[in-house]
Structures are given as C-alpha cells and as structure tokens.
Symmetry: C2
Subunit: 207 residues, 2 copies
C-alpha cells in the first residue's frame, strides 16, 4: 500500500535501499488498468510504462492480482483532508465547494479504474474491499459530514436518510460515465446538487 502521489524528491538513486520504483509502478498499473481493464492489462504493459523490467515488478508483488489490489488500495491516498473541508454555512455551498476541476479529473480516473475491475469485484472479496475503501468510502465520508452539519444547523430535517443522500451524487456520476458514456462536467454536478440531492434533503430550491 504505497503512496503513488509521493513522487517527491525522486533522487534517482543508483543503489536503492528499498523498492523505490514502487510508486511509479503502482501509478503505471492504475494507468493501464483504467485504459485496458483488469484482463486487458499485462505486466509487460505496466513495466514498460513505468520504464521498469518485468522482473522488478515481480520482485515486489508476487502476482498480477496482488499488484492490482495494491494499486487500487493506494488510490485512497490523495484524498481530501477532512480537516480543511470548507464550512460555507449552507449545505449547497458545501456541496458546490467540493466541485473542483482537478477533483473531477481525479474522479474520472477513479471511475475508469472502477470500470476496469467491476467484473472482478463480484469474484474477489479482497478486491471488493479495497475498492470500497479506496474509491467509495472517501466520497461518502465527505458527504456524511456535510449532511450532519446541515442537520445540526437545522437546515435539513434530522430524520433524513443520510446514507441514501450520500449515495445519490456518486451514483449519478458513475451511471453517467460508465453506463451512458457521458463525460462529467461542472454543470452536470451542479444540476445533480440542485435538482436531485437538495430536493431529496428537503431543501427548497433558491429562486
């Protein structure tokens, strides 16, 4: 479970103490996974893309399955820091504030990775758990915080089904990208908030 984002420093050491190529390899694995899916991905592709040898990959991971598992798990990193979630004072403000172009791009990549492994999820509980933790849970966590805040604020009725509300956004995005093949843009996300999530949360539309 190495952190891909930490391509920090990158001293290109000659003699490396550990397996310093891990981040590049994991990142390459995610790249290939998102483009070709689990079965379409070959270790050679990953190695080549990471400018590494196949042997280097197998020195660290004993099988393709483990590499993928690790690659998926490490997507958990780079998530939003829960501490600096903006509190804009309104539920809509909070939700809209979460929409940022880079996070949309990151989200699409995650979805493509998800698309590449969905058919495996039903057959590999471990992969299912990793995907759950790395791709599904982080989003839900952020949403949960917003809705709890809104309830405390009195903006939203306390008996609302928070879990269902948390799911609406991700579900619409996933369906749109994976099933309909439509790209996600800011307008789509905003309309999801205004036309679906807020009404479901019992918040009246603003004029």
């Amino acid at each position: 479970m190495t952190d891909v984002q930490q391509t920090e420093a990158k001293p290109r050491l000659g003699r490396k103490r550990d397996h310093t190529r891990d981040p590049e390899i994991l990142d390459a694995a995610l790249e290939v996974l998102s483009e070709s899916g689990y079965d379409g991905m070959t270790i050679d592709m990953v190695a080549t893309r990471a400018k590494a040898g196949k042997a280097t990959v197998y020195r660290r991971w004993s099988s393709k399955a483990e590499l993928v598992l690790d690659a998926v798990a490490c997507m958990k990193q780079g998530e939003i820091d829960l501490d600096d979630l903006p509190d804009t004072g309104t539920l809509r403000g909070d939700l809209v504030a979460m929409i940022r172009t880079p996070s949309i791009r990151d989200g699409e990549r995650k979805l493509k990775v998800m698309a590449g492994i969905v058919s495996m999820i039903a057959r590999s509980p471990e992969l299912a758990a990793a995907a759950q933790e790395a791709l599904v849970e982080p989003r839900a966590t952020v949403n949960r915080i917003f809705f709890r805040r809104a309830i405390e604020r009195g903006e939203v009725p306390a008996d609302i089904d928070v879990e269902k509300l948390c799911i609406i956004g991700p579900a619409l995005v996933a369906y749109s990208v994976l099933m309909l093949g439509r790209p996600v843009d800011r307008d789509f996300l905003i309309s999801n908030i205004d036309q679906v999530i807020l009404p479901a949360a019992g918040v009246r539309a603003e004029p």
Copy 2:
C-alpha cells in the same frame, strides 16, 4: 439478434431448418457473461452450458466478440410492453407499480451482464451501443412515459428535467449493486422513489 425468451415449442427437431440452437447458446452466453465477465468467459464454457459443441457456436457467430454483441442485444427482448403500462393516476402509483419481483431479478441479471462488459464499453462503440439499447434505454423509456403523464396531469411542474429524473432510479440501483455489492429489494426501490425521485420531481411526500 435472436430472441432468447422464445424457447417456445422447442420441438428438438432432428434435421433443423436453421440454427435452432441459437436461443440456448445466447442464453448460456449471458449466463456465463454475468458470472465471469467478458474476459473470463470462454466459448467452451458457453458451449458446454448450452450442451452444444464449440463448432456449433462458431457456425453461427464468427467470433467471441460477435457472440457477446448478439447476446447483449437480444436482452432487449422480454422488455415491458409499452402499451400495458398501468396508469394508476399518480406518478408514485405508476413508479411503484413497475416494481415486481421478477423484474427485480431480471434487472439484477442485466446489471451483472453490464458489470461483465463495462470495461469493454469504453473500447467498443458497437458493444456500447448494444448495451445502451438493450439495457439502458428500455428503463429510461418507461420512466419518460410516467413523467410525461405526470406533467400532463399537472402533478409535476412542466419545466422539470425529465432526462435527469429518468436516470436517478437506474443509477441508484446500479451503484448499489455494482459498487456497494448490496442486493436490491423492494424496500430499497420504494425508498428510492419516495426519498429521492419524487422530491426531485417536485412532488410533496405523503404523510
């Protein structure tokens, strides 16, 4: 594009005029597809499950890709007949009336097939189109009719975004099954209608 459901008569002819084993083979293909995904599915599996020989399969379809394409396309059959859609007088009534145990089962099977091919969809426009037509469009069509009716009735504001409303239900179901791995039951579908779809449609909750 043969119809799987039409296992009618099934005279088990000796000398067959045409390729009479098509339905069984297509059905077996869908079965295997839903269990193992596109890459996990082998022609041998399909043939064996259909009690057929691999040669029989290739006599009719020139490649695995074409078999899958045809199998997906033929799922369009067995859809709800648009003429006998119940008009219960209310949007909620119409939506709830669509929930039937067999249609839930059928829907789950379709979703599993979808899961088996999502990673291919991004790379095969033909498969994407077939999936769109057979799995996505039929549901949206039914919903569209309900919402249009509700608008005519004055139950729902005319400026509502019908396309978005049509997507909510399928999106929640797909996300729940494929991403969260939760089975779909009647209560879940009802709560989707009452807590999400109707509020988004501007219908007040009933006490």
